[in-house]
Symmetry: C2
Subunit: 87 residues, 2 copies
């Protein structure tokens, strides 16, 4: 399952959220991740995030597509993850 | 065409980018927009953004899907655009 995850969490929780998402998905921009993930693994990610996010202020939006080909991606400007994909 | 747009631009250009995107799409979180848009209108948005973004540092990522039903959306935490959709 191809997934795009965007989060908006309080400054204090950004590092934790970033670290968590990096374990499951690929970072593509600021607070945006994408990648192939199973339903089970995604549920695991969400459960772990729920442990520390603040439901009143933080939010995570997840877009799921059964097939990556159903989504076309276009990048304008600087492709930020160019280096991280090499490392 | 259903579109998700995420941007990461320098602080000085955030307000301009936000204003531009609001004209074409619906704000859903922080620097994330979504909505139905035609190819022509999307090209117009990108052209206008190119006028002020810095190609070296800024980036805009656009995900396009021919059909919104091909994407499932899940929100964890606070649904930030609840109020803006009412206004």
């Amino acid at each position: 399952m191809y997934t795009i995850l965007v989060y908006d969490v309080g400054q204090k929780r950004v590092a934790k959220m970033l670290k968590l998402c990096r374990k499951y998905l690929n970072w593509i921009q600021n607070s945006v991740f994408e990648g192939e993930i199973t339903e089970v693994k995604l549920r695991e990610l969400i459960l772990k995030a729920r442990e520390f996010i603040d439901d009143e202020t933080d939010s995570i939006i997840i877009f799921k597509s059964r097939d990556e080909r159903w989504l076309e991606k276009q990048i304008v400007g600087n492709e930020k993850n160019r280096l991280t994909t090499i490392i």
